[in-house]
């Protein structure tokens, strides 16, 4: 700051020169320099920060940022079939209304008294997830579904005292990378390949990989490729060696698919982004972990768990942290993993979403997506040169489309689709070279029949060019 040139800003009340001077006087300081007296000269910045000139007025700031955002095109303006871990759904206006409330947006770490509403809203979120998952324990959200998976297998490791984790080969490769980075100090990761014809795991192979040192079998159901394995068989295989069966699940699928608890999952995890969060270029993710109310498992959670309890007034409900001593907040490195600011507002929002949808809404939503997926699969298979890779398997929401028959790489096809205002499916050719030139196409209730038909017509058009 230029000496003698005061900078008064709406966000900094006491930057008013007279106030600043009066406060300095009150504390007996000649200038703010005094407060920094402990910082040696060698550690001080020698020049002002070299950053871009600011837009001091809100009007110009808005114009600047709006100009940047106008350089983006987005899925509300284009037709998008991208998925692979982040999904376009209709976000109910009430979800936006609630997570936009000043109170929720700016609360943080208050007590169950001053922040009673925050505790209740998060407890209710956990409870509704529990209803969807048919499990008794659900945590306050972690960062995203990947973190949830990484923590879930660490929980299994602690619970079993074993190091080996067998991971299904058709999970998101990024998730495997993240789980490995996160867990490898204490866990060894082994991948179980999937059958390229069906897109499903081979039970015999999985069984072979499981052994008495195995802490967990980790599977996503539906898989990253949209296929749906036989959970009960996998659960039996895991349990046969004393390993936990950990399932990553798309919560939207649970309107039609069985909750993993019903086919034997011990820990269930996933991402709540589809439950009322805008995609936000990946900013809408949030992770959940769930289990039965087995104290030995509960004590492995690193996350906050909120419980409902009576208060000193009969009939009144209060809330609080369950088994706080598990956490790093309480025990530092001797707690489980760590806990910090993650994605609580998305938890509240997912609660709003589930309350709006109710049982009927979740059932209709999932059933409709399954129908659209099947319809799209049939339609796309009819486009010349295009093949649905695992056409013989059931899919939810996503399936792999192979373009080898067109002689064109996915990149070229997607570029051509983009020119027609369509975001084609996620290009799998780098991460899954065995699948050839393939892309992952995703569908949801935002897509009308007309949209799907338009996709196919556009594909035909660009492939004919």
């Amino acid at each position: 700051m230029e000496p003698g040139k005061p900078f008064t800003h709406p966000y900094i009340p006491n930057s008013v020169p007279a106030v600043r001077e009066a406060m300095l006087h009150a504390v007996g300081a000649a200038s703010v320099e005094e407060f920094f007296a402990d910082i040696p000269a060698a550690l001080r910045m020698q020049a002002p920060l070299a950053i871009a000139a600011p837009h001091l007025s809100e009007a110009r700031l808005k114009r600047h940022v709006d100009g940047l955002l106008r350089k983006n095109s987005h899925c509300a303006g284009q037709l998008s079939f991208l998925g692979g871990g982040c999904y376009q759904h209709h976000v109910p206006a009430v979800c936006d209304e609630i997570n936009g409330r000043s109170e929720f947006a700016t609360a943080y770490a208050g007590e169950p008294y001053d922040d009673h509403g925050r505790f209740q809203a998060l407890f209710e979120y956990c409870s509704m997830m529990g209803a969807l998952l048919e499990m008794d324990v659900v945590n306050v959200p972690v960062y995203d579904g990947m973190q949830a998976a990484a923590t879930a297998v660490r929980m299994a490791g602690r619970h079993t005292g074993r190091r080996r984790v067998v991971v299904a080969g058709h999970i998101n490769p990024d998730k495997l990378s993240m789980m490995t980075t996160y867990g490898r100090a204490d866990l060894d990761f082994i991948t179980a390949p999937f059958d390229p014809k069906t897109g499903l795991l081979d039970l015999a192979t999985v069984t072979r990989l499981l052994d008495k040192d195995t802490a967990a079998l980790y599977v996503d159901i539906p898989s990253f490729l949209g296929t749906i394995d036989d959970g009960a068989a996998l659960a039996a295989a895991a349990h046969a060696v004393g390993a936990l069966f950990v399932v990553g699940v798309d919560p939207v699928s649970l309107g039609v698919l069985a909750p993993p608890a019903n086919y034997g999952a011990d820990i269930v995890c996933g991402d709540i982004q589809p439950l009322g969060m805008h995609m936000n270029y990946g900013g809408g993710q949030g992770g959940f972990i769930a289990s039965h109310d087995d104290p030995a498992i509960v004590m492995q959670y690193p996350s906050r768990l909120f419980g409902i309890v009576p208060t000193s007034v009969p009939g009144e409900y209060g809330f609080g942290d369950v088994a706080y001593s598990r956490t790093s907040f309480d025990k530092r490195e001797n707690g489980n993993e760590f806990v910090g600011t993650a994605a609580a507002l998305w938890g509240i929002t997912a609660g709003v979403y589930l309350a709006l949808m109710g049982p009927q809404g979740m059932t209709e939503l999932a059933a409709g997506i399954a129908q659209r997926t099947a319809y799209a699969s049939q339609r796309m298979a009819r486009v010349p040169g295009v093949r649905v890779t695992h056409a013989g398997s059931c899919h939810f929401r996503e399936f792999v489309v192979n373009f080898d028959g067109t002689g064109l790489p996915v990149a070229a096809i997607n570029a051509a689709l983009l020119q027609q205002g369509v975001f084609g499916g996620h290009d799998l050719s780098a991460a899954f070279p065995a699948l050839g030139q393939s892309a992952l196409y995703a569908f949801s209730e935002v897509h009308t029949q007309e949209d799907i038909d338009l996709l196919c017509a556009t594909l035909e058009k660009v492939l004919n060019q």
Partner: protein, 506 residues
């Protein structure tokens, strides 16, 4: 409001929102799309969610929001270490537009040039603020950034072949619990230094702890005491001399913008919490962004993807060959990055420096006034100024009246303000951590000081009043012992219903 738990509001048949119809052609073509699955894979009964009209769902959550004390609603200086500052509404408004909210993270780079530009420019600002050479914004919170830093430390030593030997990380008790926890998670043994008599991390203890086994020092400065460690460069040099890396936890950076940086102190890595220093909303505890900053030497280890600017276009590229890999989904919490970018672009260099100057002025004013209250003290470094926060002690008051710091906090809730003691363990007896930031006016600070003075007075005149607080909150004192009893804890409503049936709770 005396708002029931949401399941109690259910009326079978009510709908909160309708789902788009499936066109008859689709229904016909799809048939039973999941009939090929084993029966056990299909849901047998609908989820036991509440059934409510939209109006009732909205009313329920609006009432819960009013029972939540957001920073917007109060003089939120009592959650020390949390850096509760003003989160400008314009930034929320900007981030809630479809050009941000409706972006899919797998969109082609050509369709997200504005977003990538924001990320790249924000990275540039953080380089300048820290003096570091490279930044990743992928972590979704401060603790995840700390873990990323530890994973980079690990990868660095692995790349040099001495990972097996270097299995210890040194931190201090006044650093965030996640510093210790993340080091442990990355596979390290944790050595914790305690403060010396003046409240500084003990240099002699560090020298004793450092060895060829030292992988890194992880340290905050100023620590949660608010006291700046003048000898930080010596700490760094000692560790470097032993071959360790130095990681700076900059959660407490709000008093240092444009004043002092990680570079000048010699650190290899550091991190910032955008929801603290850079004014993004705390959101009940996320979504958030933790920024990882590092020197050029550490840059090859950053998680991917990375934003690159070539030929006038922005691109995402994979992490380098030595990258630690993914640390979270996609590029992180982009909508929070946009808010932080907007905040910085509204303030500029002068503004950021003023933020810190006033945050520190406010803190020293607060300390000056609070120390006039009988029974309150600021342990360590008597007479010294503090940076952005102070860890106080009510030990004197507790000894005189029996009222504890925790009880003062519950009573403070009655006056509509937050109050936080500190992380465990309580190294300072009966601690209280106050951080006024730059966002509050002198009148606001005086109001908070008045509440503290008033409660201290009550502790003397009517201690029971304080000890039975809260009296003026949505709920009364909870029966906390149930929360640690596996037989009775109830983490979901279905668990509560079951245990209520089995054990007649409440």
């Amino acid at each position: 409001w005396d708002e029931p738990v949401i399941f109690e509001l259910s009326q079978p048949g009510e709908r909160g929102i309708l789902v788009p119809e499936v066109e008859p052609d689709i229904v016909r073509a799809a048939g039973q799309p999941l009939a090929g699955l084993p029966a056990a894979m299909l849901r047998q009964r609908p989820p036991a969610l509440p059934e409510m009209s939209q109006n009732r769902v909205l009313r329920h959550y609006l009432r819960l929001s009013q029972e939540t004390l957001g920073a917007d609603l109060n003089v939120d200086v009592g959650q020390g270490t949390c850096t509760m500052k003003y989160n400008p509404k314009i930034n929320d408004q900007l981030a809630r537009q479809p050009g941000m909210s409706e972006l899919h993270p797998r969109q082609p780079d050509s369709t997200v040039q504005g977003m990538l530009e924001v990320i790249a420019k924000l990275e540039g600002v953080l380089c300048e603020v820290s003096g570091m050479d490279a930044v990743s914004l992928q972590p979704r919170g401060g603790s995840q950034a700390i873990f990323a830093n530890m994973a980079m430390v690990r990868a660095w030593h692995e790349s040099r072949g001495d990972a097996a030997q270097r299995d210890e990380v040194i931190t201090t008790i006044f650093s965030h619990p996640s510093d210790a926890a993340c080091a442990k998670l990355a596979g390290y043994k944790v050595i914790t230094l305690y403060p010396d008599a003046n409240g500084y991390p003990d240099l002699a203890a560090l020298k004793a702890a450092v060895s060829p086994r030292t992988a890194a020092l992880v340290i905050t400065n100023p620590e949660d005491t608010g006291i700046f460690n003048s000898r930080i460069r010596e700490f760094v040099d000692v560790v470097h001399a032993a071959g360790g890396l130095c990681v700076y936890d900059q959660a407490n950076a709000n008093g240092l913008l444009g004043i002092a940086r990680a570079r000048e102190a010699g650190f290899d890595l550091c991190h910032f919490n955008l929801h603290k220093t850079f004014a993004t909303p705390h959101a009940c505890g996320g979504p958030a962004v933790g920024a990882v900053c590092c020197t050029a030497a550490l840059a090859p280890f950053l998680p991917g993807p990375l934003v690159r600017h070539t030929d006038g276009r922005y691109h995402l590229v994979d992490g380098a060959a030595q990258s630690i890999g993914k640390i979270s989904s996609f590029t992180g919490t982009a909508s929070i990055m946009l808010r932080a970018y907007a905040w910085i672009m509204n303030l500029g260099a002068d503004g950021l420096r003023t933020v810190s100057e006033i945050a520190v002025l406010n803190n020293n004013y607060m300390m000056h006034e609070l120390l006039k209250i009988d029974g309150m003290a600021a342990p360590y470094a008597p007479g010294k100024r503090r940076i952005e926060q102070v860890r106080y002690s009510w030990q004197g008051l507790t000894e005189a009246t029996g009222v504890t710091s925790e009880e003062i906090g519950l009573r403070a809730a009655d006056f509509g303000v937050h109050y936080w003691t500190s992380h465990h363990p309580y190294v300072v007896p009966e601690p209280a951590t106050i951080e006024p930031t730059e966002s509050y006016s002198r009148a606001d600070l005086d109001e908070f000081i008045g509440v503290m003075r008033h409660i201290a007075g009550e502790a003397h005149s009517d201690p029971d009043l304080v000890k039975t607080a809260p009296h003026n909150c949505p709920v009364h004192r909870v029966q906390g012992e149930m929360l640690d009893d596996p037989e009775r804890w109830s983490i979901t409503w279905r668990a509560y219903q079951r245990k209520l049936g089995e054990r007649g709770l409440a």
